[in-house]
Subunit: 117 residues, 2 copies
């Protein structure tokens, strides 16, 4: 098996619609749709709402992981999308999922780093 790195996009997003950051329900629905659309394999997930507001989530994929940590009091979301290329080249998919999540949150990208690893 070729050892080809995956793509890991790491970003801080500004989100003005705070209701999307207060709890995970809408984001979870979006992510489940993206996982199905891009034919990824969800091995398990943790979604947790904080009190009084905010959520954290990690989704374990056979292709690596997606994580979201929201800071509604600062209108920020920290997002990671990391897909390895173990069975197929997922670099385009990584970028597409990131773009679709930015669009879902109507977010402005404050910081973004893209690592090949």
């Amino acid at each position: 098996m070729i050892y080809q790195p995956g793509l890991h996009i790491i970003a801080e997003l500004a989100v003005t619609n705070v209701s999307l950051l207060n709890s995970h329900e809408n984001a979870k629905h979006c992510i489940n749709q993206l996982i199905n659309k891009h034919q990824l394999v969800n091995l398990g997930e943790v979604y947790h709402n904080f009190s009084p507001a905010g959520f954290t989530a990690v989704i374990c994929l056979s292709e690596s992981h997606i994580s979201l940590h929201s800071w509604p009091e600062h209108k920020r979301l920290h997002l990671d999308v990391y897909l390895s290329n173990f069975l197929r080249d997922n670099n385009l998919t990584t970028q597409q999922i990131f773009n679709e999540l930015v669009s879902f949150f109507s977010a402005e990208i404050m910081q973004q780093q893209t690592l090949k690893r």
Copy 2:
């Protein structure tokens, strides 16, 4: 609440003791000890062994997450340790946990990036 970024260490490790990469049991035990030792809060976790070998794991913490993706056929481990500073300054803890995992795996650090986010 002050918006102070967390520390995210992202690394590729070379591990010669492949048995530690083949399945997650030993790593899980080590991580549980580290979570207790450093008084982090585990909100949920996913550990998955692949067939015939290799594992992937994400641990969702109230402080953010830890992830491990092993490539035993290439003697590599992709490790993330990311702790936010929401309730306290965890920067030192992030570095300590990373160091302790490198030590557990007797690993050589092939690539490392440290992001403030």
